[in-house]
Symmetry: C3
Subunit: 487 residues, 3 copies
């Protein structure tokens, strides 16, 4: 038996080759005349004992067989084509799933490699976080949202475009200008750190970094309106780089619509720019500065600024700012979206808490830190009867990283010893949301009645209260040494 | 090497055949006694040097190997079965994709072959456009909508049914009657060309072509309420053709519910009609004519008529009519749907424009023409960094064709030299929608501020305005010769 | 030809084996040195007529070929891996589909085997009906809803948890207490048979069976808010069984958040309880009894009770109770959900009727009976032109069974000769819903106008009315003998 196996080893490898080559041939073989068919027919004709009709029957069978074979080949070709397509479609997904495993099953924390770079020029870059449903099967519920990060170098211009998505732009850092085409003119707004601007679907807009030295850093949160989880950019104006959406039309259409002579149109649409974001001279930056424009949302000439709101929690360990759909001036009405900003003092932490309704999509703005979340999904022991088990999701945080906290999942964020940790969050499904805490003032354990508390913990209720209660609310110290003594 | 390849060519083709045959056999081979297993065991027994126990061990190994082989076969069988299922499920999709390729990658324009015929009798036919998500992966966002076209010959009757869908019926041509069972009686309404009737889910309705000579042509736009993208017809009344929904119940149930003797019920439910749409005599058409019925929507006895509304744009090159959810009398409240009608004068075109929110599902009512759309999805160069590229989607239009324009996508429609082009559109996600134009009065290029315009086009802003501006709004001439001189 | 086939039979089986073995090897072969490559190179070196450079070229080709082969192998490996994953993902689905076939194609009636048991202890059990989209492809439209049945033994406690779902709790039987953590205290409510309590997402709650002898039976209807069709339980308080959601956090986090010494925390979180539902002494039941709590919904101290509402239909054959989103006191506002209770007197039936908008998810509370529904989906003849056909879905009903009736589908339920049949229904998509009947007072056939009725049935309209009309409304007798004469 052993020898037989050994023998087949060589034979099989050869057959494997045969199979592959056959498949490869099957894909290319359609155009060429089939030598096998010719051979088959030739053999029919060489049979001396055959009568004319025998030969005819024989060649007929060759044809029939050949036809059947071709059909099979086509099926296989089709199969291969389909698999290839399938692979393309699912490649990013598989990629991620492998990464998850390598990263120790963390489908909630995302870094640079989870973004696609859609623009990268000397003027800056645009990175779009992959579709959430492709990043993790646990995030299917937010698959229709897409987060993009725009980085623009000093004195740059990002030419006008419109999107098939609702977009909420949050200015994380730097000083910009946004121009929005509303009705028959362009509304221009200064963008300061903390500003929120809502860009309605289809509205043409451009962006300028008006600062001479500092980068402009924008987080844009998209809700696609046509295809779930996908949105597209449509560059209105002419030119080749970025390519104008008008270049797809035939010259006949463009000539009739624009009434211009073809030469002029060609010259217009052949203009080159320096890509998706490009440097512009100081005079042009100044020329685009807003001139006391009347902002349609809330009747103010400036966007709503999250950083200038009153904190909903604040102590020496941190501050939490929040603006939601019930704030009339935010421009977020009707969106079921809330924006929050947490500034966690160095050496501190948030309490252990969860959102009752909202799923939080968080971007680290500044600082470093750590994130821990309790998650029932990933647990293996889930399948066992009578037992739900929880798994720790954790990760170190640094600027630009994204993490997601689904509704109901308790979590903490902790700042490093060196820096405050600043986090910007887009919280979807925000209507009716509450933040419920497990520790500190007004925690839910304390709110449990006496008997139930004792039964639930199988521990004296007074002792439970002692453990869960404390005077601080929401932000606590984490590292024992005093915060100031450290570098 | 060359010879080797040549040799393998023949061998591989043979192996290919072998592979196919083996697979085919694997599917059927489970029942028959395996000859290979028999041979293996036979060889064991023929080894002269073998002791009894050697032979036993040998045959055991045969069995083991055979079992393993069978398992592999089953896996392959299973694989094949699954693929077949998969193929069946996706066949229409793939079918379309192939067609797309043949038609020059056009997943947005649909003709007769993209419809399923659900009724076809002497009295008329009903055709339902395949699920949008099966027609094209780019149309997943509208997969829950289904468009049907009803054609009824003169003096015909389409018996009562109800649907598990919200239905908006638009009378494209001809003179009909619709009977709607509302509370305890039947509301009958005359249908004229341009009439819109909303049929609530579950409402039984029937349709009559009351004209003696002209066909009745209805477009019905469905929003299924139970299963995404699928709706069903439930024929209430008895009879065999169309089959009554009641025939599925057991006789015991029908007898108890209807209290009739079984004979009578059998006779009732065995009645034949002439199918889904059938001819009826003139007297019966007359008997069903509405008698000053009180229409529940808007307190009028007639349906809302789109053709009698004031155009939102009109000039010698075309007219655009529109009715949306904010029109109280339309019956469209709460549906997030708009109906529009464009009548493009022969030799003319619409401007290049896009919808900010709405996705347009258009049906060509009359005339011929051409359609062009700029589309970022299909482009190959999308994957390259810093570059988005646009692809032209185009198609010739003729009556009965359907095309889809997703939100944000700029497009034009052009009439032929011979006829006006008339297009009926169902526009979903209509709330807050605006039509923004690239050329003509009030175009979005003009609205761009001076500096941004120059930077975006890399071209003198004054020249840009010259090209994009013109006096006409929305409809322009297309063919240079005067429209009247032509046949 | 015949001999050729016979010959190939043997050869093919061998090749099949070859193929399988090759594939298997391909999966493992990456690490080992490839013997085929060695052989190839060896043969190059053995060609006496070859010059040095010929040999070099030859071995180079070996390498090239080998590389190509490896790539192909990897592709195949990848393919296999992907299929395996695919299988795992879809296995439950396939499993269900098979079950359907075995059960005689009944994807609308569900029994014990369609539930997953998530808790099973001496104190009781919790069973969750599988995802509707996995139970049947026809139920994709309700895939986001999940039904759970809680059975708690006398004097038991189900410790506090919160859910990432909106939950509507219906008390089918028994006497319970529910404690809900609202703001900073616990609202406790007595649960009587028929009580409805809405548990907002994220709200911690616990349940007590306060009765000394009777089981507590609750139906809980969940609308997950994060992941479609999936919800999770988060056990707030500490302990090991059920495991606290806090145990997933690192000791550093717990120590900093709770400020307690590690020893104490360890002791707290190491406490054992007796699982998801456990027995408690009478004194503790009493200590948790509500004390004139102020109920936030409707300003009452008791939950809304469905059984105490006025029936919308009632006669000697049955009673129908209903509470929907337009009832201010029900707590169902904004949910698009209706709860109904049908009590069908023994030997009786409901009329043949359908819901215009709502899909009904029904749980048998008491009694036995029978269910029949007319369904167009399952029919084979659907594909034939001009014909829709209906299929009977039927099943015997007993306590604990679940059946689903999609909108538009006519159905009946019939009680047994022995017992009243009591059914609790959760009806989703309830806004605007009407119940339309085919028989009895005010049926839709009667509402059809005279001419249309005659045409539709191809039968004299007067006779049709005679058959469909009767004095009783909604509930009819089913078995002919008088109801009282029977046991």
């Amino acid at each position: 038996m052993a020898m037989k196996t050994k023998l087949s080893l060589a034979i099989f490898l050869f057959f494997l080759l045969a199979l592959f080559s056959s498949l490869a041939m099957a894909r290319k073989g359609r155009e060429v005349k089939d030598p096998e068919l010719e051979t088959c027919k030739h053999q029919c004709r060489q049979q001396h004992q055959y009568t004319e009709s025998d030969i005819e029957l024989c060649t007929e069978k060759c044809d029939k067989y050949h036809q059947m074979k071709k059909e099979r080949e086509r099926e296989i070709e089709e199969e291969i084509r389909r698999k290839k397509e399938h692979e393309i479609k699912r490649s990013s997904h598989h990629h991620e799933e492998e990464e998850e495993e390598e990263e120790g099953e963390n489908p909630y924390v995302f870094e640079d490699q989870h973004f696609d770079t859609t623009v990268e020029t000397e003027g800056g870059r645009v990175r779009v976080l992959k579709k959430f449903s492709k990043l993790s099967k646990f995030l299917q519920g937010i698959e229709n949202f897409r987060l993009a990060i725009i980085e623009a170098e000093p004195h740059t211009f990002m030419p006008p475009r419109h999107l098939d998505a609702e977009a909420i732009l949050f200015n994380m850092k730097g000083r910009g200008i946004i121009g929005l085409v509303v009705e028959d003119k362009t509304e221009r707004l200064n963008l300061e750190s903390g500003d929120i601007v809502r860009i309605q679907p289809g509205t043409p807009f451009y962006i300028v970094n008006r600062d001479e030295n500092e980068k402009l850093l924008l987080a844009v949160f998209h809700t696609p309106i046509s295809t779930p989880g996908n949105y597209e950019e449509f560059f209105g104006p002419g030119g080749r780089n970025p390519e104008s959406v008008l270049t797809a039309f035939s010259w006949e259409v463009l000539q009739a619509a624009l009434k211009g002579p073809r030469k002029e149109l060609e010259s217009l649409f052949d203009q080159q720019n320096e890509g998706g974001i490009f440097k512009i001279p100081r005079e042009q930056v100044r020329a685009m500065a807003p001139k006391k424009s009347i902002w349609p949302f809330g009747g103010k000439s400036n966007p709503f600024n999250l950083f200038s709101t009153s904190p909903i929690f604040a102590n020496q360990y941190g501050r939490l700012l929040e603006v939601g759909p019930d704030n009339d001036k935010s421009g977020l009405q009707g969106l079921n979206l809330m924006l929050t900003f947490a500034n966690i003092t160095k050496r501190s932490m948030t309490t252990v808490y969860y959102n009752t309704h909202a799923t939080k999509i968080a971007v680290v703005k500044d600082g470093e830190g750590h994130f821990e979340m309790s998650c029932p999904h990933v647990s293996d022991s889930k399948s066992k009867r009578g037992r739900v088990s929880y798994h720790r999701i954790s990760g170190n945080l640094k600027p630009g990283m994204v993490f997601v906290v689904p509704a109901g999942h308790p979590f903490v964020t902790i700042s490093s010893k060196r820096n405050n940790l600043q986090i910007i969050c887009f919280e979807v499904n925000a209507t009716g949301n509450k933040k419920l805490t497990f520790a500190g003032k007004n925690n839910i354990v304390r709110a449990l009645d006496h008997t139930a508390k004792g039964l639930s913990f199988n521990y004296p209720p007074e002792k439970v209260d002692e453990i869960f209660n404390r005077d601080e609310q929401f932000f606590f110290p984490f590292f024992e040494e005093p915060a100031r003594a450290d570098a």
